[in-house]
């Protein structure tokens, strides 16, 4: 019995859903629109929605007044660097746990998960003093290291759940056909593992890009990624709405686009495989 849905009902549901969806999205949309206004138009009363003089001057201004691309590249280096480093460390571990599990594998996984639950303030003070003493404060290397460590449990977990879905029989079949271990890894396992690794990479770049506890506390100017750079707009520059909006739009646009592609992985990664 296929469910018949009246068109009327479908239209009503659509209207309600679109209205609520736009309401949730509105702050982002408003920021995007404001980024193309002059500062005067940005605070005009009543607010201007579409009919104003569109300009890109804020984007130019943000770059010239504060070295925007330095902070952008800091974000890229920290997010991508820590994710790749994390993958290099985590792939062998997840692989071992998925393909030759022992009695203790589950305990190890659980323990890894539990390290993620330590609140960052429990480690802030020693890490801050340690970084201060070794000159790692406000350095990209220091942040890459911290980011790698805080996301390592999620990376191991995600990879583990993906690797576990690769059927073991395929390995046996390859072995029966006389494939060596090297061949087995290159021709059989890698192609099957790549989608899982890519998903893990995507989600962790997003998480590291948006991380705002360690980045705010461990950077000042040189190594500050976009999270910390935007925080400097807190006051009084934040009252220049158009420039704040331009800086914000550039900070969130890349990750918003990546994020839309990773909806499914997001659920899996953030629930540690408990909801798929």
């Amino acid at each position: 019995m296929a469910r018949s849905v009246s068109t009327r009902r479908k239209v009503i549901v659509s209207v309600v859903a679109w209205a609520l969806g736009l309401l949730i999205f509105f702050p982002i949309l408003w920021t995007f629109i404001t980024s193309f206004k002059s500062e005067g138009d940005a605070v005009a009363s009543p607010p201007l929605f579409l009919f104003f003089h569109w300009t890109t001057e804020n984007y130019v201004e943000v770059q010239s007044r504060s070295d925007y691309f330095l902070h952008f590249s800091n974000s890229v280096i920290i997010a991508v660097g820590s994710t790749i480093l994390g993958l290099i460390i985590a792939v062998p571990a997840a692989w071992a746990m998925a393909f030759s599990p022992t009695k203790r594998t589950k305990d190890v996984l659980m323990w890894m998960l539990s390290t993620k639950m330590m609140p960052p303030v429990g480690a802030l003070i020693p890490i801050y003093l340690l970084f201060q003493a070794t000159g790692l404060l406000d350095s990209r290397i220091g942040l890459v290291a911290v980011m790698t460590l805080i996301n390592l449990p999620i990376i191991v977990w995600m990879l583990y759940t993906y690797f576990k879905e690769i059927p073991g029989e395929i390995l046996e079949a390859a072995r029966m056909d006389g494939a060596s271990l090297m061949k087995e890894i290159i021709y059989v396992l890698t192609p099957m593992a790549v989608p899982g690794i890519a998903s893990t990479l995507l989600l962790n770049v997003i998480l590291a890009w948006n991380e705002a506890f360690w980045t705010l506390n461990l950077t000042a100017s040189q190594a500050a990624p976009l999270t910390a750079f935007i925080a400097s707009y807190s006051s009084p520059e934040g009252l220049f709405y158009a420039k704040l909006s331009a800086a914000s739009t550039m900070a969130i646009a890349p990750i918003l686009i990546l994020g839309w592609f990773s909806q499914k992985q997001l659920v899996r990664g953030l629930t540690f495989g408990a909801v798929k």
Binding site: V13, V16, W18, L20, G21, L22, I24, F25, P27, I28, W30, T31, P47, I89, A90, P92, A93, A96, S100, M110, L113, S114, T115, M117, P119, V121, G122, A123, L124, I125, P126, Y128, L149, L152, V156, A212, L216, N217, L226, A228, I230, A231, Y233, S234, G238, Y241, L244, S248, A251, I252, L258, G259, W260, Q263, L266, L270, T271, F272, G273, A274
Partner: protein, 290 residues
């Protein structure tokens, strides 16, 4: 054919991850515990004498601690309530047949990808600002006095911002759970004359129990450590009205340079988070077996 050889290879492959996480989870914590027993202020050079549990005594009897603890619970509870109820509602809505479902889904999910500092600043300046914010315009348009949200209701404002960021997460997980709901079971219930409400209470809600639990636990972990949103909007103020535990420890350490006291606060936060963590590990562990 798990031979001894593959087993030792497996152990070798796990070593880097295990060792790094072991160091990361133990060394800073041990140092924090050690600092928490010292009279250690960065402004006072020289010796850091051992003071036992004094720092804990001062931290736990400081009125700011109770405010911060209370604010932390309100923040976690408030944001959870909004995101769970809102998430279920949105998931039910998005699960209906409609035009442009994919796009609506994208619109609803977007806030999750906005970095905390950006989210907080947009809300603070462009919406909640009592002079130029959109809410002020809206209030004036209907003849009301503009309300200074961050000065008069700082914690509630922070809760709104944080809930906006986490609503997409709750929605996404609830939606994933809803989509695995058995269609036939629902139809059978309808044939037996179940109304919308009883269908929701007896079929949909129990089916989503696991997703709801997961959302509560994971959000709690993150919400206990909300920091950036407070830093850029209210700086914990006015007074300590919007200070949570994380922010209190931060301000004691990096604004007042009281390493000993802040370390004691950090340990208190760790203990509280662990109470939550015990539940999370149990639930996720159970789901693993299923």
């Amino acid at each position: 054919m798990a031979t001894l050889q593959t087993r030792s290879a497996a152990r070798l492959m796990m070593t880097p991850s295990v060792v790094l996480l072991l160091l990361w989870s133990l060394v800073p914590l041990a140092m924090t515990i050690y600092f928490s027993t010292l009279n250690y202020n960065l402004l006072m050079p020289g010796e850091h004498p051992f003071v036992g549990f004094d720092n804990y005594y001062y931290f736990l009897t400081d009125p700011a601690f109770f405010t911060a603890l209370f604010n932390t619970l309100l923040l976690v509870g408030g944001a959870l309530l909004i995101t769970i109820v809102g998430g279920i509602a949105f998931a039910l809505l998005l699960n209906q047949p409609m035009f442009g479902q994919g796009i609506v889904r994208i619109l609803v999910i977007a806030p999750f990808f906005v970095m905390p500092t950006v989210a907080a600043l947009i809300w603070k300046n462009m919406f909640m600002n009592p002079v130029n914010g959109l809410f002020a315009y809206a209030a004036k348009a209907v003849g009301l006095e503009p309300f200074d949200f961050l000065a008069n209701a700082p914690l509630a404002s922070v809760i709104v911002i944080v809930a906006w960021q986490w609503l997409p997460f709750a929605t996404l997980i609830m939606l994933t759970a809803l989509q695995s709901l058995d269609e036939e079971q629902q139809e059978a219930a309808e044939m037996d004359g179940a109304g919308l409400v009883s269908k929701f209470i007896y079929i949909v809600l129990p089916h989503m129990a696991r997703a709801i639990t997961v959302v509560i636990l994971i959000e709690t972990i993150f919400l206990l450590s909300v920091f950036a949103e407070i830093l850029v909007t209210t700086n914990g103020g006015p007074g300590t009205d919007s200070t949570n535990l994380t922010y209190l420890v931060y301000s004691q350490a990096l604004l007042q340079f009281d390493i000993g006291g802040a370390s004691a606060g950090g340990i208190v936060a760790v203990v509280l988070a662990n109470i939550v963590a015990i539940f999370l590990v149990r639930i996720v562990g159970k789901n693993l077996e299923a």
